[in-house]
Each structure stands twice: as C-alpha cells, then as structure tokens.
C-alpha cells in the first residue's frame, strides 16, 4: 500500500478533463463554456479539444474561458481573446479566410466538377448506340452457360 501511495503521488494527472471544481454554478453559462471548449484545441495535445483533454494547459484554458464568460464576454469575444493569445492554432474549426477558402470550398467545388463530368458522361451513355455483339458463337454459348449458374 505504501508503494501504491507513492506511485499515486508521483502520477498527478487527473482522470478526466472537466473536473467538478471547474464547473460554473450558472448552468446556462456552463453550457456555453462547454460549447466553446469543444471548439478550442488543447495546444500541447495531439488533436484533442480542451473539453476532452486532461492536460494541465487544457484545464488552464477551460478556467480562462469560464473567467471571460463570467466577466460578461460573448462567445465570439472569448474565442477572439484566446486566438489573440495562442494564435489560430487553438481553433478546431479553421476560419474561412485567406488560403483556408481552399479548404472550405474544396468539397463543394469538387462536387460541382464531378457533377458536371458525370452529367456529360450520362448524356453520352444514354445516347450511345449499343455496340454490336462481338462474341463468337462459341463464346455466346459459353456465356449463356455461365449465366445459367
């Protein structure tokens, strides 16, 4: 048991992300804080948002978000505040500006290109003549035998 206590003392990482002492009393404000947290990245983690992460920095950021909310900031103001301090790296959802336009419009753009291409293909296919059968009689016989299986 002594060894266990030592080990537990050495490993101070909390078991989960949002701890009870962080939760705001006002449920509406807390819900907003959770919503904002899901949009912000834990800057030292690998792709986790601060709501999921149990890293210390994530906790600090969560507390910061709640602090700003209690101070009366709007959601956008809180996010802008964090972006100013940590750069756009904290945003889980990239902004639609500059080169990011490419990212956001890649899907719709490709869909449009594919739709036009497919439209042309379908039109051609529906107008094409059925090519004449080029199978020899033996091949035809073999084919119908296979098809019967």
């Amino acid at each position: 048991m002594k060894r266990l206590a030592l080990i537990l003392a050495l490993i101070a990482a909390p078991a989960f992300a949002v701890n009870p002492d962080e939760v705001l009393d006002d449920p509406e404000l807390e819900a907003r804080a959770r919503g904002i947290s899901a949009e912000l990245r834990c800057v030292v983690c690998r792709g986790e948002n601060i709501d999921e992460s149990n890293a210390t920095i994530a906790r600090d950021l969560r507390l910061l978000v709640r602090e700003r909310l209690v101070a009366g900031d709007s959601d956008d103001e809180v996010i802008a505040y964090l972006v100013e301090r940590y750069g756009e790296y904290v945003l889980m959802k990239p902004t639609v500006d500059g080169a990011n336009v490419l990212l956001w419009w890649a899907g719709p753009g490709l869909l449009l290109v594919a739709a036009v291409g497919a439209g042309l293909y379908l039109r051609r296919r529906s107008r094409a003549d059925e090519p004449a059968a080029r199978l020899s009689p033996e091949e035809e016989a073999r084919l119908s035998e296979l098809m019967r299986d």
Binding site: P20, Y89, K93, A99, L111, A114, A118
Partner: protein, 658 residues
C-alpha cells in the same frame, strides 16, 4: 536462435518476392507459360516465409525474450497472455510485419483460388502484388527490423502502452490491416488489367469479392476502434476525426464506392475506367493511411511511431505505386471501352451519384486531414482542423447519400421510371416523417440533429424493407416469405447493409443530440439524481491487478427505487509505464447506456464522479455490424461461390462446391 531464423525467413521472403515480381511479368509479356507459372508457387512460398518470420516474433513475445529490443520495449513478463500476443502488432515494427503478412496472405489466396482466371491476368496481378511485397519487406528489413537484439538483455520489459492493453484494441489492427491490405488485390488486378488493356465483366467478378472482403474487414476494424475509444478514453466519445481515424475512414469510403461501381462493370459493362481508377485510389489511400500512421507526420492521439526516415521510405512507396498506376492509367484508360447503354434515370446513374458522393466526401476528409500540413508548408499558418470542420463539411454528403439511397437501390437497370419507384416508397417516407414529428415532439432539448438523424435513419431502414418486400414478389406475407430463400444473397446483403447504415445514423444522431452528462464531487454513501436516475456512490476501494493498481468505485443506479445497474468504474495506474487510465463502467442497454467514470479524491473529501446517460449509443456499432453482415451475405452470393467452386475442383479436389 528462433529470432534469427525469423530474420532469415524475412530475407528469404524478400528474395522470393523479387522473383515473383519480375519473372511472371516478363512471362506474361512474352507469352512464356513456364515463366508465368512461377507466380502461384512463389506466392505460396512468400507467404510461408513471412508467416515463419511472424511466428518467430510472436514466439519471442510469448516467451518474453527481452534480448529482442522490440520485446523489451513493448512487453513485460507480468502482462496477460492476450496482450503479449497483441503486443506483437502493438508497435511499429511488428505492425508492419503483420501488414506484410496479410499482403502475402492475400497473394497466396489469389494464387490458390485463381486458377480459373486467364493466366496472363493472373500472372500480372500476382507480380504487381509481389512488387508491393518487395517494397514493404525492404522497408521492414532496412528501417524497421523487428529482430534486433540487445547486447545486454535487461531483466524485464518496459510494458505495452496501457491504453492498448484492451481486448477491443487487441483485434482492431488485424481487422484494419485485412481491410487496408485487402484493397491491394483490387489494385493489383486494376494494374494488371491496365497492362492488358482489357476490363470486362469477368474482371469485375474477380475484383468485387476482394473489395467486398476488404470493406467488411475495414468496417469491423473501424467499428472496433470506435467502440474502444467509447469505453476506454473515459468520456464516451466514439469518433474524433483524428488523422489516424481518418486514415482508415478514407479507404473505407473509397472501398464502398468501388464495390458499388464494380457491380456496374459486372452487370452492365459500363463505368470501366472509373472503376479501375477507384481501385487505384482505394489502395492509394490505404498507403496514404499507412504513411500518416507510420510516419507520425500529423501527430495525433494514436500515433506511436515517429521517425522521419521511415516516413520518407513509405512516401516513396506511396508515390511509386500510386503515381505509377496513375501514369499507366492515363495512357491506357481510353482503351476501356464501355458497352452498356443506359438512360439518365436508371440504377447505373444512381450508382454514379453514389460514387460521386462517396469519392468527394472522402476527398473532403483527405483535404481536412492534410490541410494543417499544407497551410504550414505553403502559407506559413499554424492551424488546426478538428471535428467541427469535418462535421460541417462532411455531414452534408452523408445526408445526401441517405436521401437518395433507398430510391437508387430500387431503380431498375438500363431505364427506370422514377415515379414508380418513388410511389412504392411512399409508406417509408410517411413513416420517416412521422418519426421525425414524434421525435421532435417528445425530445426535451430543441435540437434539429436528433429528429433529422431519425428521419434519415428510418427512411433508410424502411426503404431497405420496401426493397426486399418488392424483391420477394407478389402475394401475401406467407407467399413472400416462402420465397425468401430464393432471393439471391446479394439482394439480402444489399438490404441488410443499407438498413445498417440507417441504424448507425440513428445511433450517432441520438447520442450526439440527447446525451446527458453530470460532473460532481460525491461523498461515499451520497445519492444524487441524473436525468431520472438516482446514483449512489456506495463505496470506493483500492485493488491490485496483474500489472496495475486500481481505485474502484462501487456505483448503484436506481430508477424509482429499483436497482437498474451496479457499476464498478476504475481508475488504474500502470507503474511500469507510470500511466493512469480510466476504465469506465458501462451498463449497456438497447435504448441507452449508463456510463460511469470515477476520478480523483478531492481535497475536501469525496470523489470526482462523472455520470453519462448515452441514448442509442450501441446502435452505432450495431449498425456497423449490420453493414459488415450485409457485406458477408453479399460475398456468399451464389455467383461468387460458383466461381470459387469451379476453381476448387481444379486445384484442391474432393471438396464439394455447394
């Protein structure tokens, strides 16, 4: 000694692979039968050698031979046997060896079952398959040798990452690799067909089962991974849009597109060049996935290997095979002449739309995954692309697929009358809309996600039911059910898989829209209420496992005074890796999961406790299993068994085909 034998076997496998990649290819070009005939025995031999190497490594793990660097770094003598074995592929070197083992297994299977194929096509396909082996065997031997010894063997190992010591994750990589690597068969056949300049129904009949099998394995592998994340990471997330997850999801989407377009080639001899392109892309994305995971280039939760030299090696493999195949494609695609003519409203067209949506959505995932890298390299911006992006950019494609799927699946080939199909689907539509209204009315939160998810889910399931109802012919229920056995398995497979997609839709929407979460400090003996459940923290004890220490909470959940579940969430500490893990305790249910997590003792006394009510959670994986089951039914369809049976008569003999 055994490890050295494994090393030698791996080198021999490389030698055989080189022969198999070169000789049959030349033979097929020159028309030399003898040279072509080298392919099949070489494929079997290559598999045998790789299996021996894999067996040697497994032996080292099972016997805890810590003189092997890999075993020392990833195992521990106190680790349970299951995880000693799964530890073989729970690390970079071993997982690459598993990758190659499965690659050679597929090659051996194509050699064993493929005697019904045209000999040239078979020789070329096996040569291409073997070229992939050459690349990856060289990769293992040159950069990731699993058989390296330590000069002074330590007394004990460093243990496996405790997060990976879990039954769900033990089998996640093998399934995923069976899927990834299974797509190599489609790729090899596509390249062989390009060299041949010929794609026909027989080709598609060969490619489709391999693709289907790969897709089934990928489905199960992805579902296992997501299920693991759900119960292991301690807050019940099931999908994170993490680069490593995306790496498996992109090939899945492409495989789904490919197995649909291959039907058009098989039945209608159209969409040929597109299908070949999809086969190349599907495996290309498997390689991209391997590159993302193995190079650790985009760091993520799962990545446990990062070494740039390895990354560059895999990148070269990726460029050589995908690039080479695409160049070949650009020269030869025009030779694929389409035969089938069809109207704009037809099943062919519906499958084209399916392919567009699946392929474009996969590209969206790809661009989102790579964008942080691109933005940093070319635009000097350090940014993140996370779940909110994918939810916004990817979901619309899935919604579109769900809307058109039931209609498209019922359209006849060649020329269809849309009105007729839509009329038969009116009951399904009415049911879906009624569900939407009902769900909207009874939900306490005003989210649109839940009702829309159920609208689409019910539409898919009811649409699938309508589909099979029509396939069963005319007459009353009895007469129709009497014909159930006569409907081809492929039709059952289609219906079950499509219904499964609907079930998964409902699970995801239900869980995301209506989850209830409660975080608090609870004293031992205290009772609190969460969404109609009375939760009691009855006791907290400390226990010791084989290679960990554990804090166990005893939680009792009651509804109206009646005990619903008694749960034991744990917080474990693995001393060797000095890493804590949360072991959530879950009471699984049809309608909801009760999900409990225990955290740290608090300063003022009591314990941090998290309670989740997760509605419809299991529907996500139930739907995935239905999709895999549908694929399996389709795979067992008579037309593939007949093809395989004809082969078996020639090769093995003595086994009745039916």
């Amino acid at each position: 000694m055994i490890a050295e034998l494994g090393h030698v076997a791996l080198i021999l496998a490389l030698g055989v692979a080189i022969v198999q990649a070169v000789v049959p290819m030349i033979g097929a070009q020159k028309g030399w039968t003898g040279w072509m005939a080298v392919a099949a025995p070489a494929a079997l031999l290559q598999f045998t050698f790789t299996l021996a190497a894999f067996g040697a490594l497994t032996w080292a793990f099972v016997t805890s031979d810590f003189s092997l660097r890999l075993v020392w770094a990833n195992s521990h003598s106190a680790k349970p046997m299951l995880y000693k074995i799964s530890g073989v592929w729970g690390n970079h070197e071993g997982s690459m060896l598993l990758w190659v083992l499965i690659l050679t297994l597929f090659g051996a299977m194509a050699a064993g079952f493929g005697s019904g194929l045209p000999p040239r096509l078979r020789a070329r396909a096996l040569a291409v398959q073997s070229a992939i082996s050459v690349a990856f065997l060289a990769f293992i031997l040159l950069t990731s040798n699993p058989f390296l010894r330590l000069a002074r063997p330590p007394f004990d190992g460093q243990d496996l990452n405790p997060l990976l010591q879990d039954p769900g994750l033990a089998f996640h990589p093998p399934f995923l690799y069976l899927g990834y690597v299974g797509l190599s068969m489609a790729f090899s056949f596509a390249v062989a067909a390009l060299i041949e300049g010929r794609v026909d129904a027989a080709w598609a009949r060969w490619v489709r089962p391999w693709t289907l099998a790969a897709w089934i394995f990928l489905t199960i592998g992805i579902a296992l991974g997501s299920w693991w994340a759900y119960y292991e990471l301690g807050w019940g997330g099931f999908w994170f849009w993490d680069p490593v997850e995306n790496a498996s999801f992109m090939p899945w989407l492409f495989a789904a597109a490919l197995l649909h377009s291959a039907i058009v080639v098989e039945k209608r001899e159209a969409l040929k060049s597109w299908t070949v392109l999809l086969a190349i892309l599907a495996f290309g994305f498997s390689l991209i996935g391997t590159f993302i995971v193995r190079s650790g280039i985009i760091t993520s939760v799962h990545s446990f290997a990062s070494d740039p030299s390895r990354g560059i090696f895999i990148l070269l493999i990726l460029l050589f095979f995908t690039g080479g195949a695409l160049v070949l494609y650009s020269f030869r695609a025009s030779a694929m002449e389409a035969k089938g003519v069809f109207a704009v409203v037809s099943r062919e067209s519906a499958l084209v739309v399916n392919n567009i949506l699946l392929a474009v959505s996969s590209f969206v995932v790809f661009i989102g995954t790579m964008w942080p890298l691109v933005a940093e390299m070319f635009f000097d911006r350090k940014l993140s692309v996370g779940a909110p992006f994918f939810e916004a950019a990817f979901t619309p494609f899935m919604v579109a697929i769900a809307i058109i799927l039931p209609i498209g699946a019922m359209l006849p080939w060649k020329r269809a009358r849309l009105g007729r199909v839509v009329r038969s689907l009116v009951p399904a539509m009415v049911l879906a809309v009624l569900t939407f209204l009902l769900v909207w009315a009874i939900q306490s939160e005003r989210t649109i996600l839940g009702p829309v998810g159920f609208l689409l889910g019910v539409w898919l399931v009811a649409g699938a039911a309508t589909d099979i109802w029509r396939r069963l012919g005319a007459g009353g229920i009895g007469a129709r059910l009497g014909r159930a056995g006569r409907v081809p398995r492929a039709d059952w497979g289609r219906v079950v898989a499509h219904a499964g997609l609907g079930v998964t839709f409902m699970g995801i929407a239900g869980l995301m829209a209506w989850q209830v979460e409660d975080i608090r400090v609870a004293q031992v003996g205290e009772t609190f209420e969460v969404a109609g459940y009375e939760v009691t923290l009855a006791d907290v004890t400390r226990e010791e496992g084989p290679n960990y220490f554990s804090t166990v909470g005893l939680m009792e959940l009651r509804r109206d005074g009646k005990l619903v579940a008694s749960l034991r969430p744990e917080k474990r500490v693995y001393p060797v890796q000095s890493m804590p893990t949360t072991e959530a305790a879950i009471a699984n249910g049809f309608w909801r999961d009760l999900y409990m997590v225990i955290g740290d003792p608090q300063e003022g006394g009591g314990w941090a406790v998290r309670t989740f009510i997760k509605p419809f959670a299991n529907w996500i994986w139930a739907g995935s299993l239905l999709m895999a089951l549908g694929g399996t039914l389709s795979l067992s369809d008579r037309r593939y068994r007949v093809a395989a049976g004809a082969t078996r008569r020639n090769v093995v003999g003595g086994v009745p085909a039916e």
